[in-house]
Amino acid sequence: METFIGKPVKRREDARFLKGAGRYTDDIKLPKMTQAAFVRSPYAHAKILDVNIEDAQRGDGVVAVFTAQDGCGTFGVPCGWQVDFKNGETMREPQHPLLAKEKIKHVGEAVAIVIAETLEQARDAAELVKVDYEGLPAVTDPGKAMEPGAPLVHDQWSDNAAFDWCIGNDRTEVEAALASAHHVTEMEYRNQRLAPNAIEPRSYIADYDVNAGKWTLYTSTQNPHLIRLLLCAFVLGIPEHKVRVVSYDVGGGFGSKIYHYTEEALLTWASKEVGRPIKWTSDRSEAFLTDAHGRDHVVKSRMGFDKEGKIVAHLTDEYCAMGAYLSTFAPAVPTYLHGTLFQGVYTTPLIHLNVIAPFTHTVAVDAYRGAGRPEATYLLERMISKAAKEMDMDPAEIRFRNFIPPFDGVEQAGYQTQVALQYDSGNYEAVLKRGLEMLGYEDFRKSQIAARKNGKLLGVGISTYIEGCGIAPSAVVGSLGARAGLYEVGAVRVQPTGKVSVFTGSHSHGQGHETVFAQFVADKLGIAMDDVEIEHGDTDQVAFGMGTYGSRSLSVGGSAIIKSVEKILEKGAKIAAHKLEAAEEDLEYAEGKWTVKGTDKSISFGDVSLTAYVPHDYPEGLEPGLDFSSFYDPTNFTYPFGAHIAVVEVDSDTGRVVLKRFVACDDVGNVMNPMIVDGQIQGGVVQGIGQALLEEVIYDESGQMTSGSYMDYAMPRADDVPMIETDRTVTPCPHNPLGVKGAGEAGAIGSTPAVVNAVVDALSHLGVTDIQMPLSPQRVWKAMNNGR
């Protein structure tokens, strides 16, 4: 019988995408649908003196114009994670209004919504809205936001801090260890602000059915149920069972489509006011100005080493921007998703991280592919490579000396870090050894020396990362400030004919759930993949769900489905035992049938399914039907890890960096579909390369974004990157049924420091020790030429 787990099964979702038949939100047209356009602030910080909508209301085709003076003016979107100050003061949580009323807090903040018959009419009328602003000084840098006298983002507080936080060992103990360390490596830099840039812009359609008293919100989201919950219970106060949230095909998320955005709530509210469906699709300029950004940490760090190159202590202070308002998961990103990874893959005995999270006059910062973990990995991996150079050690050797020894989490216990987490299983030496072998590290070092003699600037950079996926369990994250659970829901409905419908709370926006989930369900039930259908993205179909982020779909969502499959098989065995006139314990299940052990007496899955729905000859007291739903709340995070190695050549005349090779050896636990895992790694790696070499959101002093288009914000294009060479080691996760760890973010976490380490390596003989990202030719050339 054909099995599917572990095989590169081609994706079933591809046919519709390749034919242009995907169902993205903007592709949907409803009868009588209107179109919306927003009036957005050109100021980063301003008083709103007056908003005049009279001309706009008279515009051609205009259906309605709303401002904060209307009924929507009292609503605001909430934050989903509370991180209080170290001194016990509650996190400062400003209202995030759907439309700005008295004050503007970032460029692009919406002041009014114009709804018209056509998009052109809505945009024309939006230009007729007259807003009288009084501009005020702004602050956009998280460090400067905490300087005395900095412009306040929210007047009700005495400074811009939203909260401060620390983790790890006692600071004085860490300071003392640094003071007596053999060597101390120091770095100060900015982990720059990035725009996630899913190629599909955010898009929403809200539709109120007056007769049913029900709303439908079509939305490009990564987590439809969470949006429904927030929208109903925390924003508009409308009944959850009267709201359907639908998210069919979504054109990439990378974190930016996790959050509940003001436009979703405003359109939902307005659809009832105008009694017609309303569509709004962001254009790219709006996306730059209003989609949540990532990163933006200002970092100051010291790491102490002994004579052998072993890390003895690590102390870091960071300013991490929150933006003007607290986005859904923003406070968790520079704290519980960041500080908790400061152990890395090393045995560092003393660690302390202090975080100050200021408001800034910018759009919000929230989780972006990796969320806090790329920032932690960048810091650790740059520091250890810098230390190796300073201590005249090989960057691979210093890592081998510091690695946590292998542990499988079964025979050997999980590894307890200094920063709260307990790693599940790991073999960090193996993954770096394999990576070095893939590259041919020894040979490369020889060719590097030869190349330098010929005036060529070649460099190699290593990064060995760990990350935490499938953040859990709910009770623990609740105690850390999460205002939601972090379980997942998976339902398996066996139809009378033995065909299987699976309903998952996970959401696919490129990850291939429709294929991968069907692979393991088919295998576990011993049936054909064609007999399994995966449903997601519609709250009316799927009971509940927490959605997709943090590489959690397979480890958490997949596990919930497995729980339901087990319940199906358990009940099926009772029916089979009855039909076969045997005891349940005498049955075995394989290849889609129950067989009485040692005999040829058997009954198929299909026959048992039919019996469950036509229960004439049926076990006494057993309910008919074969349909189970399960909630799975993991006992721990999962911890994928890997080694990424970059080879670069720097043009000595221009400073341009050319990426010659990129090798990634990752360990994501068991692999369901290697084709998809490789694809996730390749894509993530290139996003991480983007941060290293190209990408940066820049706000000027007045708070204007000067990188707000594809002409100004550089992302990797096909000719910027080489083929990505991938391989794997497999260290199964010991605590979930599939033994999987997650692969969605790994690429973006490991790759960034590997590239920067490679460039610094290429230029180290010129005295270069660090270059601020992104490594533009100008910055690289300046560093090579000593700031000339």
Binding site: E13, K19, A198, I199, H509, P716, A718
Partner: protein
């Protein structure tokens, strides 16, 4: 303004506002929603179609500029149930993830292979530089086009 365009072999006659982009016209007036809009400034390439045999970005072309032209969109690539070799190759080699950039990638690939039936990896990467993909890192898109070229040439 009145325009006459042939799209995917079918003739269309429409009266439209001169300011409407070709991409919008395809999506809104003809319901050909396979052509996607990712940026409105020719930066992302999701809206790529072929116009008189050449790949162009339909978001920065006015529909009226296409008057009298022959256009192929992603919907016109397959021959009924039979996918075009480029589409087949993308499926075979996992050249897509979220699928949003995919129509533009396929149309650009068609243009690359038309002008250069045996492109090198460098030729393909250079040919794709007007199209963003945020999911795949381009690795499997390049592989897909390499394999499509082989298939078409045999």
């Amino acid at each position: 303004m009145n325009i006459s365009i042939t799209i995917n072999g079918k003739a269309y006659d429409h009266d439209i506002e001169p300011r409407i982009s070709l991409a919008q016209f395809l999506r809104e007036n003809l319901d050909l929603t396979g052509t996607h809009i990712g940026c409105d400034t020719s930066g992302c390439g999701a809206c790529t179609i072929t116009l008189d045999g050449k790949a162009v970005k339909s978001c920065t072309l006015l529909a009226v500029q296409a008057d009298g032209c022959e256009i192929t969109t992603i919907e016109g690539m397959a021959n009924g149930a039979q996918m075009h070799p480029i589409q087949e190759a993308f499926r075979e080699h996992h050249g897509l993830q979220c699928g949003f950039c995919t129509p533009g990638m396929v149309m650009t690939a068609a243009d690359i292979l038309q002008s250069n039936p045996k492109p090198s990896e460098e030729d393909i990467r250079h040919g794709l530089e007007g199209n963003f993909c945020r999911c795949t890192g381009y690795h499997n898109i390049v592989k897909s086009i390499q394999h499509a070229a082989e298939k078409i040439n045999t």
